[in-house]
């Protein structure tokens, strides 16, 4: 009897379980509003044109995919794109970083002194961190002076906010809600770059890193993936709060109840209740596409090949995906491959330091074929250190012919014959008849042993496009007698190698690239990300002997002069020269910038234009329409 009862109740339980599992209980929560939030600088969130619903729909969770593992959740020391995918949601900045026309964010107003050397920012009234702590000027001061200024902290922010003379802006607390930054030699991007810095909650930082004021170095390793989201709650004032983080599988965010921003109808933002970012631990992109097509994710960055598949899905089975997956303009940033001047193999190091060798490698990079075959033509070939959309891009329309002529001399389009000629003339010849060139002993007087011209080109595991580009380069190089072995590494490992210079060649990309000043951390000798020559001793730089030392000096000068040029015309001239110089020396060999591609489910993200991804550091704009990505 008892047995029967037990089995019956078990059966009943099973039925209940299945019922629970199959019935989806969706509770749509209204957009809660915070009363004291008046019409303070209402930032209008552009709602994607949707004829049926002019009103926003609140609630829901958006799921997207990251193909590379983030390294940390530290907005100051983070350097990889995946980290910024997470931090962009947790932290907020003082201003929206537009160079000529900054928009208010945590700071609602700013004034410049008459001599333009001082800017004073006024904090938004009643603004709070995600745990309810009020944001004070002390938090701002602390973030700058204790987390960015100390040399021990590996931060690229320091390089971009530096004044024209290399010193850091002097900070003064003016009032309980006013803070000023002063530079004696002001850079043109002064205000915008200061506004770009994410502000951290001092109380929280001290809880996590109690000793940070005495030993700033500790902050480098703080806010790691292992830090519990509970402990981190309230560290930033961004639209979302990190609730769960498993670096191998998922990061989850909930809406920040104290977030300051609201739309024009006074609905507190963000609309979404949460964001879930899946982190693909193995071969990411394969399953990412399957998940998106299967309705498991709402937002997806496709490969160019996937577009036709998604369009076919839309046509054949009405899969709700946006029409404009291809945005039609290049992604921000630059994609390139770089040869380490500090490679461990002395023969390779000697070859990599020769600019002619790098020029030959640039000749071997078939950008047209890469664009056509790998990006299906949805990209722009790049030859210089800026994104083609940048107004400073050296090959912009309206350049005078004299400049164009100089520019074209550094445009190393694919040319197998020329590459072979250069390599031959350098004395890198195939002496043993195996089809691979050898580096002779004491190449260009660098005292190296002889060696084979064979090196590894590393790129992100799981990023199939980059792997394909690397393979394409390797194929062409082999026809010129250079053996390149493509290998793949996790993003974290790749960045470790990049930062320490312990690599031979790496294919990767950098974000930004619109404003030349923002790449100071890469090109200046003591920059935080000076990865092509991590050993750039100052004494050598200031007293250059060989051409690459002279190059470093010249680039440093360009960055010094370009940043302080107040007139845009003057700045453009300086940056033209800088790009031509960098183009001649090819520290990085630029490849192709793919178009921004993004696919999202139109039924889920019906009206979430920019809102779900609020506080993106990147906004794409075309014909007046802007979109976060």
């Amino acid at each position: 009897m008892r047995k029967e009862f037990a089995s019956l109740s078990l059966l009943a339980l099973l039925v209940v379980v299945i019922w629970f599992a199959t019935v989806n209980v969706v509770t749509a929560s209204p957009c809660p509003r915070i009363d004291q939030q008046k019409d303070l600088n209402p930032l209008v969130i552009e709602i994607m044109p949707d004829s049926e619903t002019a009103k926003p729909v609140c609630g829901g969770i958006m799921t997207s995919h990251l193909i590379a593992r983030p390294i940390s959740v530290n907005p100051i020391t983070g350097i990889d794109a995946s980290t910024f995918e997470l931090t962009a949601r947790i932290y907020d900045s003082l201003l929206d970083g537009k160079i000529d026309n900054p928009l208010p964010r945590m700071a609602e107003a700013w004034q410049q002194s008459d001599n333009k050397q001082t800017v004073t920012l006024t904090l938004r009234k009643g603004i709070k961190f995600a745990n309810g702590d009020p944001v004070t000027v002390e938090d701002v001061r602390f973030t700058f002076e204790n987390l960015i200024y100390p040399k021990e902290i590996a931060s690229s922010d320091r390089d971009v906010i530096a004044c024209g003379d290399g010193t850091l802006p002097v900070i003064r607390v003016e009032a309980s809600d006013k803070i000023s930054f002063t530079c004696t030699i002001r850079t043109r991007t002064f205000l915008a770059f200061i506004g770009l810095i994410e502000i951290l909650n001092k109380k929280k930082v001290l809880e996590l890193v109690p000793n940070v004021e005495k030993s700033p170095k500790d902050f480098n390793t703080a806010l790691s993936l292992a830090t519990s989201p509970e402990k981190m709650r309230g560290i930033g004032a961004g639209p979302f709060v990190l609730t769960k983080l498993d670096p191998g599988s998922v990061a989850e965010f909930a809406r920040n109840p104290f977030y300051w921003e609201s739309d024009k109808d006074h609905n507190q933002l963000p609309y979404l209740n949460g964001i879930r970012i899946l982190i693909a631990p193995t071969d990411g992109q394969v399953l990412a596409l399957a998940s998106f097509r299967n309705g498991q994710t709402d937002w997806f960055v496709p490969r160019p090949d996937d577009i036709s598949l998604l369009q076919a899905d839309k046509a054949s089975r009405g899969f709700p995906v946006n029409d404009d997956i291809n945005s039609g303009f290049p992604l921000p940033g630059t994609t390139f491959w770089v040869l380490s001047w500090t490679a461990k193999n002395p023969a390779l190091q000697a070859a990599f330091r020769a600019k002619e060798f790098r020029q030959a490698m640039s000749y071997l990079t078939d950008r047209a074929a890469i664009n056509k075959n790998i990006f299906n033509g949805l990209g722009t070939e790049i030859y210089w250190s800026l994104n083609p959309l940048s107004e400073y891009y050296v090959e912009r329309p309206g350049q005078p012919q004299a400049v164009i002529d100089r520019v074209n001399k550094t445009k190393f389009s694919f040319d197998l014959v020329k590459a072979r000629e250069i390599l031959d003339s350098l004395g890198l010849k195939d002496t043993d008849g195996d089809g691979i060139r050898e580096i002779p002993q004491n190449f260009q007087g660098r005292g190296n042993p002889a060696g084979k011209l064979e090196f590894a080109l590393s790129t992100n595991a799981g990023n199939t496009l980059r792997i394909e580009i690397a393979q394409q380069i390797a194929n062409d190089a082999r026809r010129a007698g250079v053996l390149i072995n493509v290998d793949t590494k996790d993003a974290a490992v790749l960045f470790d190698k990049l930062q320490t210079g312990d690599y031979e060649a790496i294919l990767t990309s950098l974000s930004g690239g619109y404003v030349p000043e923002s790449s100071a951390n890469v090109f200046t000798c003591d920059g935080n990300l000076h990865f092509f020559n991590v050993i750039c001793p100052f004494e050598k730089r200031n007293n250059p002997q060989v051409d690459y030392e002279k190059f470093e000096k010249k680039v440093d000068d360009f960055y010094g002069n370009g940043a302080v040029a107040q007139e845009i015309k003057e700045a453009k001239k300086i940056w033209d020269d800088a790009q031509i110089l960098i183009g001649e020396f090819q520290p990085m060999i630029y490849i192709v910038q793919m178009n921004a591609l993004f696919a999202y489910r139109t039924d889920v993200l019906r009206n979430h234009g920019r809102a779900p991804l609020a506080n993106q550091d990147v906004v794409y704009c075309l014909n007046g329409k802007c979109r976060g990505g």
Partner: protein, 381 residues
């Protein structure tokens, strides 16, 4: 019986020891060492790295390094509380629970500098979920393949050269010849593009859990935001379990096909052999029904050789799971091991080799015990 098990377990110890030596040597002969990727990191002082090297015995001969590593697993680690004289707090911030890298808990399998996690967590998942998933998939696959294969094998043997026999025979050959990765790729395409399970039925494909369950509790605790213990069946998050079951069958099926294929063929061959034995003839001659002859006399003896092969299936299942995890992105130990391999993450590779060795030995032990239990012929003095 207890005596036999004890002796068998004792016998495993030297075997395990040798496996650990071999695994350690295998890692040792590779270029670089436990802290080499760490040395590159400019954030850490030379003094600290020297201390780390001392901790792992990297300045000493290989057998000392091995001894230190083994000590960490079976006994304890030298706890150095003041870590970096120049920078005592950095570790606390960087690590899980501020205990890295001289973790106090055992077994200490080393520290993954690539993933910034203890090697055991990097391999088994932070809460050991990957380990649980692997064991569940492995055991389910084994059960599933036996459950399917034995009846088919019996049927094929008793209906030799019938149409069904030829049919099963061909399919088991095909199952043997289809690599798991091809099956997994085809499965993904079938579910997503052809059947469209997501659009039509809202079912997820790939991984072991749907997104909304990834961080959900297995069982609910008393407080709202707290998870209960995994064994608390009364407060189980049953939708999550159901979801897991939905994601469980594809790897089980894909990994199972190859197993089933070879099991069917073994079972059929063995049973045919046994059916030709004189004692079966005798049983028939006594006038027993064919049913009793087959099931009571023949099948029992035909299964024995299969049980002795049980230990051998485990590495095969491991291979299958690794490949399927690669394609379907399963969060299992095998996938973590693969990632460690591709990042040359030495402590995790070492831990993985040891783990799979242990599993294999346990499998062999299990099959031996099982064999003794079902086959009275085998003596266990």
């Amino acid at each position: 019986m207890g005596n036999f098990i004890l002796r068998r377990v004792l016998y495993m110890i030297p075997l395990l020891w040798i496996v650990s030596v071999l695994a350690f040597l295998l890692i040792w002969i590779q270029p670089g060492d436990f802290v080499s990727s760490f040395k590159l990191n400019p954030n850490f002082s030379k003094a600290f790295i020297a201390q780390l090297e001392k901790f792992y015995g990297l300045d000493q001969p290989v057998y000392v390094q091995y001894a230190l590593w083994l000590k960490g697993i079976v006994c304890c680690t030298d706890v150095i509380d003041e870590k970096d004289p120049s920078n005592p707090v950095a570790w606390k911030v960087w690590s899980v629970d501020g205990t890295f890298p001289f973790v106090h808990y055992n077994p200490y399998l080393g520290y993954s500098f690539e993933q910034r996690l203890p090697a055991s967590q990097a391999l088994f998942g932070i809460n050991g979920e990957a380990l649980a998933f692997t064991l569940i998939i492995t055991v389910t696959t084994l059960f599933f393949s036996w459950l399917i294969a034995i009846p088919i094998g019996i049927y094929s043997a008793t209906h030799k050269y019938s149409f069904a026999d030829h049919f099963f025979n061909f399919f088991s050959f095909l199952g043997l010849s289809l690599p798991n990765f091809v099956l997994a790729m085809l499965f993904l395409m079938l579910m997503v593009s052809v059947l469209q399970v997501g659009a039509r039925f809202g079912l997820g494909v790939g991984k072991l859990l749907d997104n909304e369950f990834l961080t959900a509790c297995w069982s609910f605790g008393k407080a709202a935001a707290q998870c209960g213990p995994w064994w608390d069946l009364f407060h189980y998050n049953w939708p999550k379990v159901v979801n897991f079951l939905w994601h469980l069958w594809p790897p089980v099926l894909i990994v199972g096909t190859a197993n089933i294929a070879s099991l069917v063929r073994y079972m059929r061959g063995n049973l045919l052999d046994v059916l030709g034995e004189p004692y079966v003839q005798t049983a028939r001659a006594k006038g027993l029904t064919e049913r009793i002859v087959v099931y009571k006399h023949a099948v029992r003896n035909a299964i024995n050789p299969l049980i002795s092969l049980l230990g051998f299936w485990i590495p095969l299942t491991f291979e299958g799971i690794l490949v399927v995890a690669y394609v379907l992105d399963l969060h299992v130990v095998e996938a973590n091991f693969w990632r460690a391999i591709s990042n040359e993450d030495q402590p995790v590779i070492l831990a993985g080799l040891l783990f799979f060795g242990v599993i294999l030995l346990l499998g062999n032990l299990f099959s031996d015990i099982l064999l003794v239990m079902v086959d009275p012929k085998i003596r266990y003095e």
